[in-house]
Symmetry: C3
Subunit: 359 residues, 3 copies
């Protein structure tokens, strides 16, 4: 995959942690690299190159044996560092008989894999998503596979002016999402978007006459993680706090949180992980299920549009975009990504170059 | 798509007019160019490049608003000439914010799109198909998508010597279609085929003993439109009119008409539109339905053969054909197409070159 | 297809003979070359290039007429040598109007096609498979299509150390298949594998306590044919015959035979033909059906692993293998194949180069 599009020194979401029980290897590609994930008998998480050194069979068809993983083609046994430690019927094992191992961390209910220089893997760079075990939130989860490159999904999440059009039938966001621009701020590894919508009807509520001031704020950070807070406040709050960030303690209703992560699987496929739900003071499991039903519809709408966009791009000889003023966040994020990629290239510790087999 | 195969300054059938109600955009590719068709609130037909200037989303997922079409990704609004006339939240609109618009005409129940130089679009060049509203004929209709390039379907329609073989089980055409050649005449933009079959059994009739002289005549014209008349006459008529064109007023039975159009969608896919039915003096809706049942089977037989032919061509390193004397029409049509394409190249008004985005 | 991988001067299995009734043409690709097979009215087997000289329609959609085959697109008639002997409506037929014909032989219930220089086709080179009509064996049959290149299946069959892993749930082969190496011997056109497993439980038997010495021996010969004998003997037999080949007359039970053939269809697809069953003195049709049930499961396990291996290879930039000592047979077979291919290249009679159409 093209090195100029995605940051390598970053944590990518590889799976929901519930999808990785002890002893059951799972396969995923990230940035085009096939990876096998497993949770060992002791509970340790392991992420290895999913390609046996012998004849390139996928280790994800293998068998967990305690801390180790056995290739189930001809029985080579790998330890958690990717070293071959047993070849049935053979006494000597070459030192280069090993596959790449990836730094892997479980946090906020997600399994995160570091795709860059292993010596730079820094767990403090993991975005502050919210896990399902956080008692403050009542979250539902889902995931969706895209026949489209991750970058197009990122672009979508970096420009909410699409809400009144793509999601006209689901989220019911007012036109002001397209006609007015949010406050857009660069972060060290992403972009922050903040927006007041004043005198808006309560979201997904039968009480259509109750007008509120709605505040939403989200960070979209490298390598493609969205963290968003939302809350409705008594009408007048926006003006009272001079259109800056409100105190969530004052929220009237509809305080919700969503984590979303876009993982490039291959050059033209991606996986989209998401959670959403109310703060425990603002909703219960029924409210969560209502929100997740709406999200299912809405994320399906995104998928239809983005996959269609991908097909148009694929049959366009020299695809060029024509940015609008709504693209400020997209542009800003692109600059940050390019800056981080440039820094990787000049880093004294060279980025790991994945090889077909260990050199 | 290769410019050497298909004439650009020509009207291509893009749809049955019944498939384009007011306010419902429809997508089609012609010569590899994605096109969105819509019928505006006032009934005007519009054909635009199906690719938003902003981020290349397909406009065919858009929403008709009166005379206009709104891209439903980020809300850009296009007028019927392809100009962007509104970008939500943005005051200025660049002059180059426009997509190509195509000349489009509704005639003979088909929507025709002109793929070449718009300044040369000339509605008199639309082939004389017969519409469903013509009271003289009782026509049924259909369409079929091919996983094969349009040229192979054209070749098929330019050589009816395939009838006794491909359609042995359906049309029941006698062997003479293969063993004797029709009268073949060049037209300014196509080829005419005429043939008497004497002492032939009536077509699709239980009255198998009734021998007739059958006359069939068809024009196959650029860019791939077949117009065919058929009629059976009292035995002896062929000789009586010296094997030239008969007077249809003298026809005994089985006077039918069929329009067929082959539209290249992409380099290796095509759409085949067709109608068929009896003259109102020679059949009713029941006869039409009988004919359409036979046509369904027969056109399916063509599709099986031509798609199989395409697969063989695709896996042949340097595919070469070896023409027979039955290929006279194919050869003649090829010469006409090459002559028209050469004329396009030397035309003072340069053919429109579709760009990924407006220059 | 790459000429460096597969021997051309060899007999490839193209079909089970029961799949080729008189008068029904069948299509297969071998080494990427489309071939039509038919059995003529007199019972003669014919194998021709499956591509009409006229417009490249597949002859396998044609109609058998006595000894001949008619292309059912425009009616060209081919004789059994591939010559066009009739073009409807055309008096003259060019001498170069012919397709390649292949040497083809029916033996051991298989149809074998010679893919190399026709002048070297030598029926004595057909491997000694066992036909279904051999009264000594009670054989079941099957075939399986692979989305993987034939070479990977050959590799699999040349290294039975995969048995305890891939087939842990089916064949129940003990670990010794992986931890100890068989006797491996080069043959003129293949490799022989022989192995005693002593004090093994009877295979697929409820009598789990009955320990036997099991002898298995197979030849894997060009271009990808496996012929395998198996038998269980009283414990102690292996030692008594000094771990060499036993006398099958002394076998206690479980004497079976299997023929297997791997045919490369295209660069990345293959067809796998197989039979298996007991010697008539060691089992009946019920035993055969039991064995074929196990084989169905086991060969499905191979397919899962090998197709997954192919997918990993396909997305690996520069796929390299790292052989183990279990690869002795694979390596030996590769040397034999390369030697035979080199001999073909220097042969005074040049290998036939298949052309798109006759030159």
């Amino acid at each position: 995959m093209s090195a100029e599009i995605y940051v390598r020194n970053a944590w990518y979401v590889a799976a929901w942690n519930t999808h990785l029980p002890v002893g059951k290897p799972a396969a995923i590609s990230v940035l085009g690299e096939p990876i096998v994930l497993y949770r060992s008998a002791s509970g340790r998480l392991v992420a290895l190159e999913d390609r046996c050194v012998h004849r390139l069979a996928p280790l994800s068809l293998g068998r967990c044996e305690g801390e180790r993983l056995r290739c189930m083609y001809h029985g080579l046994l790998y330890d958690a560092d990717g070293r071959v430690i047993e070849i049935p019927g053979q006494a000597q094992i070459a030192a280069q008989a090993r596959v790449r191992s990836y730094a892997v961390v479980e946090r906020h209910s997600w399994i995160w894999v570091w795709m860059g220089d292993p010596s730079l893997a820094d767990a403090t760079l993991i975005p502050s998503a919210v896990g399902l075990d956080d008692p403050a939130w009542v979250l539902g989860t889902g995931q969706l596979d895209y026949a489209a490159e991750a970058r197009l999904i990122n672009d979508n999440l970096l420009d909410f002016s699409h809400l009144p059009y793509v999601h006209a039938a689901s989220f019911g966001a007012p036109e002001v999402f397209a006609t007015e621009r949010p406050i857009t701020t660069a972060l060290p590894r992403g972009v922050r978007f903040e927006r007041w919508v004043v005198n808006r009807q309560r979201m997904f509520s039968k009480d259509a006459n109750a007008l509120v001031d709605n505040w939403s704020s989200y960070d979209f950070v490298v390598p493609g993680v969205l963290l968003m807070w939302n809350g409705s406040f008594p009408a007048g709050t926006a003006r009272a706090c001079n259109f800056t960030k409100p105190d969530y303690q004052q929220a009237l209703c509809d305080v919700t949180f969503t984590s979303q992560a876009v993982t490039p699987l291959t050059e033209n496929t991606a996986r989209y992980f998401f959670s959403w739900g109310p703060h425990c003071a603002h909703g219960d499991e029924a409210r969560r299920d209502l929100l997740m039903g709406i999200a299912s519809q809405a994320f399906g709408e995104d998928k239809v549009m983005i996959e269609a966009q991908q097909r148009v791009i694929d049959r366009t000889a020299n695809p060029q975009i024509m940015p609008t003023t709504a693209d400020k966040g997209v542009t800003l994020y692109g600059q940050i990504v390019r800056r981080l990629i440039a820094a990787e290239a000049t880093s004294p510790t060279k980025s790991f170059t994945p090889a077909a087999t260990p050199a």
